[in-house]
């Protein structure tokens, strides 16, 4: 077996019905992995941008990009080598936890407290996926009630 490596692929697609299904069907139909997927329209145009985090051998990654290219509504496929990659996470804590500790931790991970309620606080961090993962490990001791990760967004340098 060839070594499997993590890869980030960006796909520019025409904004039209069922285009997302075409992409995800391709991955499931051919047995490729999706670790995370984000999608949003590109401003001022008819296109959307998907950022897909996947993994596979060099040959598999090459096939993924080629097969994506074959889909009719796909304009461009970028297989990133040198990229800036960020992911956001929202975490809900009980208000009874040590808020100042949590706040300092969030700051260390490009984040802050974004909502304070009677019983809970919600924090946001935005950082490289690996660092977000670290953050989520560290905050376990503050008894997080809910965690949401956004999946990666990436740009080539």
């Amino acid at each position: 077996m060839e070594a499997s490596e993590r890869r980030v692929i960006s796909v520019i697609v025409v904004n039209e019905a069922s285009v997302l299904s075409r992409i995800t069907d391709l991955f499931s139909g051919r047995g490729y992995n999706i670790t995370s997927l984000t999608v949003a329209p590109i401003p001022n145009g008819n296109y959307s941008r998907l950022t897909i985090v996947t993994s596979g051998s060099v040959r598999v990654i090459e096939q993924i990009t080629k097969q994506l290219h074959k889909l009719i509504p796909v304009l461009k496929v970028y297989e990133h080598a040198d990229l800036v990659e960020k992911e956001m996470a929202l975490v809900k804590f009980p208000a009874s936890e040590n808020i100042s500790d949590i706040s300092i931790l969030c700051e260390a991970y490009n984040g802050k407290i974004v909502n304070v309620g009677e019983n809970v606080i919600i924090t946001m961090v935005a950082d490289e996926p690996k660092r977000v993962e670290n953050f989520l490990k560290i905050i376990q001791k503050y008894n997080p009630k809910e965690i949401v990760r956004s999946g990666s967004a990436a740009l080539e340098r």
């Binding site: 069922s18 299904s21 009719i72």
Partner: protein, 564 residues
């Protein structure tokens, strides 16, 4: 001009030069059928099953090199057609398949005969559309024909809700297509082509590996020129049969699981594979790590995703094989055909050692004899289609093909039931040739209702049923790899095929001897009516040689030699 969506479908088909549509009406597509009734620009052939409509359109497309068109209704009409779509997708056959859908207002309500058709066809079409507004129809239909026939061809499915076919909108088919995201790459990179030609000139044992893409791109005659100019021997895939003529000295034969010993050995010994429109299918390569192990690889293909998918290409060339082969011809003066004489001799010796043959050692007819005999009697005058199984492999091995588009068979998907309806499509496209369908006693029952279509529309396909009372290919694997446990493959309980054909108004013959076969075939060709010729053949005959699944090409099971 302001017309209904249904009229737009008709106008678009006329504008595309369609002369034959295969189909089956139903509730959701009725508006379009109403317009078919009112026109006489193209003929509609009513098959007796939607699957057959799509297979017939495939056969029509394969024989004519045009886009095949099929029309079906929603729900079960569509799901019946899915096998045909998948078949066309696997074999890169350009089709436009138009289905009716429940009205827009009912979509998503589990309405009568509603199914998410585009959701189902997404993974077995090149592209598909659900048309939600009649305004979109001219563009969608024009795109459908363009996408189906350009680049790597394939089926395009257009799903049209019933209310959209009734909606009135402006129709202008002269619109320019703006497909910013779809631009097939048809011209090969000149530098890569030059490098490939240099590699060919340097090679000692080069080998052409010819694939079905040559047929699709109408490049067979250019490929013949290139092969002859360079003097390099060639093997054909199943899909490429007819690229070179059977009597061409440079054609070794078919390679792969049931390829000839010489073809498979040549592929194992070559130092340079020149792949033209072939995709290194597992039935061709056998164990991939042992495939052409010591060879560099030139790979010409219109589909970039086919290149280096399974076998790494040292000289990848993305382009239409016809364009690329023309460029290769221009640069072929550096190739010295004399140089390959020792290699050609080696290949000839392989063939002398284990020629593609069979033994006539039983009282019953041998299926291979039947195929060879049809070749002797009809040869170039027949178009050959097949179903799937042993008879299909024997047809590919033993029929003397002399031209491209003469052999029409389900290669990629391996669809039993393909042959008869496909042969009807072939006959509709090419009425001057005799249309032969080699089939088996298993396959023929999977679309035998098409006898009715063939009688009604006067499509005199001659179905030659090689009857061994077995699901033969599966039986062969059971014999060889499952210790002769013939699980559910004994088809001894059968209809009377002669009466079956006669019941529909066709001809039927049952033959057991060579003389009877010759007489039946002669009679059928003369009478020009759809025919079943049931040939009682040796039951336990195996297709040989055989590369067991996952084995290396050079490790073939061979036909046992017999003392004469």
């Amino acid at each position: 001009m302001q017309i209904s969506g249904a009229q737009m479908v008709i106008e678009a088909l006329i504008a595309e030069g369609v002369d034959t549509v295969f189909g089956y009406p139903g509730g959701a597509i009725m508006n379009v059928y109403d317009e078919i009734y009112k026109q006489d620009n193209f003929q509609h052939i009513l098959t007796r099953h939607e699957q057959a409509a799509v297979h017939a359109a495939e056969g029509y497309s394969k024989a004519s090199a045009k886009v095949g068109v099929a029309m079906i209704t929603s729900g079960p009409g569509f799901t019946n057609a899915v096998t045909g779509l998948a078949d066309a997708y696997m074999d890169s056959i350009p089709l436009v398949v138009i289905s009716g859908q429940v009205p827009m207002s009912l979509i998503g309500t589990d309405a009568f005969q509603e199914i998410d058709a585009v959701g189902i066809s997404r993974s077995c079409t090149k592209h598909n559309y659900l048309v939600t507004d009649a305004k979109e129809l001219p563009r969608v239909l024009k795109e459908a024909f363009y996408i189906a026939s350009s680049g790597r061809p394939g089926p395009v499915h257009v799903d049209i809700p019933k209310d959209v076919t009734a909606q009135i909108a402006d129709f202008d088919y002269s619109i320019e297509l703006e497909l910013e995201t779809y631009k097939p790459h048809t011209k090969g990179n000149p530098r890569q082509i030059k490098k490939a030609m240099e590699a060919i000139a340097k090679a000692k044992r080069p080998l052409f590996y010819l694939g079905g893409g040559i047929i699709n791109s109408n490049a067979a005659y250019e490929v013949r020129d290139l092969v002859h100019k360079t003097g390099i021997p060639a093997v054909e895939t199943f899909m490429a049969r007819g690229t070179l003529s059977h009597d061409d000295d440079l054609l070794i034969s078919m390679l792969g699981m049931h390829g000839s010993y010489a073809a498979n050995m040549a592929m194992s010994e070559t130092d340079l594979v020149i792949g033209l429109g072939a995709r290194f299918d597992d039935r061709v390569t056998g164990k991939i790590s042992e495939f052409a192990k010591n060879a560099a690889v030139i790979h010409v293909d219109i589909d970039p995703a086919s290149i280096s998918k399974l076998v790494n290409a040292d000289y990848p060339i993305v382009g239409d094989v016809k364009n690329v082969v023309k460029e290769m011809l221009e640069l072929s003066s550096g190739v010295n055909a004399e140089k390959y004489e020792p290699w050609r001799e080696t290949v000839t010796n392989f063939d002398t050692l284990h020629p593609l043959t069979y033994h006539e050692d039983t009282d019953r007819l041998k299926p291979q004899w039947v195929i060879e005999r049809v070749g002797e009697l009809l040869g170039d005058d027949a178009n050959i289609s097949t179903d799937v199984g042993q008879h299909q492999m024997w047809a590919a091995q033993f029929y003397p093909f002399s031209r491209p588009r003469q052999f029409i068979s389900s290669g990629g998907l391996g669809t039993m039931g393909f042959g008869f309806p496909a042969a009807m499509g072939v006959k509709a496209a090419s009425p001057e040739k005799t249309s032969i369908n080699f089939t088996g006693d298993g396959s023929i029952l999977m679309n035998c209702q098409e006898l009715m279509t063939a009688v009604e529309k006067k499509l005199p396909v001659i179905n030659i049923i090689l009857n061994n009372n077995y699901l033969g290919m599966v039986r062969q694997w059971q014999t060889l790899f499952y210790d002769k446990r013939h699980s559910e493959t004994d088809l001894s309980v059968q209809p009377d095929f002669v009466k079956l054909s006669e019941a529909f108004g066709g001809l039927g013959y049952r033959v057991r001897t060579k003389e009877e076969f010759d007489a039946a075939l002669k009679d059928a060709v003369e009478k020009d009516v759809v025919t079943f010729i049931e040939v009682m053949v040796e039951r336990m005959e195996n297709v040989m040689p055989m590369v067991p699944s996952g084995g290396s090409l050079f490790n073939m099971m061979l036909l046992e030699k017999k003392e004469k």
